[in-house]
Amino acid sequence: MIDIKKEIQKDRRAFIKNVLGGTIAGSLLLVIPAGAALDSKLPEQLPGMRGDDSVFTEKKFVFIVDVTACIGCGSCCVADKNEYNVPDGNYRTWVERYIIDDHDEVFVDSPNGGLDGYTEPRTDIPFPVRDTFFVPKLCNMCEKPSCVQVCPVGATYKTEDGFILIDKDRCVGCGYCIQACPYSVRYLNPLTRTADKCTWCYHRVRKGLLPACVNVCPVHARKFGDLNDKTSEVYRLLREPHVISVLKPGMGNKPALHYLGLRREVV
């Protein structure tokens, strides 16, 4: 124990020394050019994805959000905004705060989509609070996606491995998919003037990386994996007797986004 601590202490001192050695010199010291093949240095978070150059993978990806674990920090929202430079006021993912008082009244809010975290308590709850929780939202990756059904030009489509993507070079920007999505995960990107939405970080997944939001979640409330892999956490969770549901099941869209510990109040 003491040995480890000393090691750390030593490293801390070294670190501070480096920084104090001058900002520029410090940065140069700290930043060693990593070489071209940087991707290979990234950990392979999703097994079997590296080097898979096939058009469609053989995997069946599901996303599970653990409502009971989310602390509403908004790391996921920050990562998402950084990953895609999402224009302000539009949200590929967001976190909702649910407060249920003891008169069954439900209060929901999501200031700036949770991007800035929840810095203020709600002061407008008239009765004692019975339960509070956070619900992260993102693309549901429906098995029967309404957006793909209504897109007039085939700009949004479903890949054979279940991702719903948008071809921004073909989208006409009519907004029909935005109307059709029961979950309001779509927005019209004001920069490209095309529809845009969460892709479950298709580009990261194909490189063996977890979606940006899953990668940053400090409490592991967002889980992503392959259902065909019997050793995966998502497979285990869906096999075990947990309370797992999807949003708006009555819509018949059959989302691949599942919620662990979802309460009926969540829409």
């Binding site: 480890i4 601590k5 090691e7 750390i8 202490q9 490293d11 801390r12 070294a14 670190f15 900002t23 940065s27 930043v31 060693i32 050019p33 990593a34 071209a36 940087l38 991707d39 240095k41 990234l42 469609f56 009971t68 674990a69 602390i71 509403g72 920090c73 790391s75 990562a79 950084n82 990953e83 705060r97 649910y98 407060i99 975290g117 929840y118 810095t119 203020e120 308590p121 509070t132 929780f133 956070f134 085939g154 700009a155 949004t156 479903k158 890949t159 993507l165 071809d167 070079d169 073909r170 580009h203 990261r204 490189k207 990386l209 940006a212 990668n215 940053v216 400090p218 409490v219 592991h220």
Partner: protein
């Protein structure tokens, strides 16, 4: 009617039919010309878009990418209770810092009360909706009063941001105080 006409009684119908057919043929030709190459390759969409989607830039990396260079902080961050906190959450995306393996720009380091704001995004007790067992919650400024420090103290005056208990544990050790049991 005895008047002689230059045209047949059906000539305009024939001409209109002819124009309609020509229009139809032109439409078919235009479709062939303008149809995107890989349209319909796998379904009713442009097949080549899948490759484009794969090549979208990865802007957030993993903590491991940061540790590649920032070795000293790696030891601290990975050993502490903040090991699951993403570097990029506080410092910004990797791609703003490194492009093609080359240094581009310094990422911001949070200072002063920015640090407190970041801490309170997760640790603020007044926001009631928290699974309290997975994370230590504090109420401000009660926490500072309880610990008998100035109420304008910043979090990082006691807590090393990369491992919040590092200095606390060191101080306790120095003072010969017993270690608190970690919650997890």
């Amino acid at each position: 009617m005895d008047k002689e006409y230059k045209s047949h009684y059906y000539s305009h119908v024939v001409r209109i039919a002819f124009f309609l057919v020509i229009g139809g043929v032109l439409a078919v030709v235009a479709r062939g010309l303008f149809l995107p190459d890989t349209m319909g390759q796998y379904g009713h969409y442009r097949g080549s878009n899948i490759e484009e989607q794969k090549n979208v830039e990865v802007r957030n990396h993993t903590n491991e990418s940061c540790y590649e260079c920032h070795r000293p902080i790696r030891l601290i961050h990975k050993a502490g209770v903040h090991q699951t906190v993403s570097c990029e959450f506080c410092h910004g995306p990797y791609a703003d810092h490194i492009q093609d393996g080359k240094y581009v720009e310094k990422l911001p380091v949070k200072r002063d009360m920015e640090i407190k704001a970041l801490c309170l995004r997760c640790h603020n007790k007044v926001i009631r909706a928290r699974p309290e067992d997975s994370i230590k919650m504090v109420a401000m400024p009660q926490h500072l009063e309880e610990k008998k420090v100035q109420t304008d103290h910043n979090c990082n005056q006691c807590h090393m941001v990369h491992d919040p208990l590092l200095w606390i544990k060191a101080a306790r050790e120095m003072m010969g105080l017993p270690m608190k049991e970690d919650k997890k």
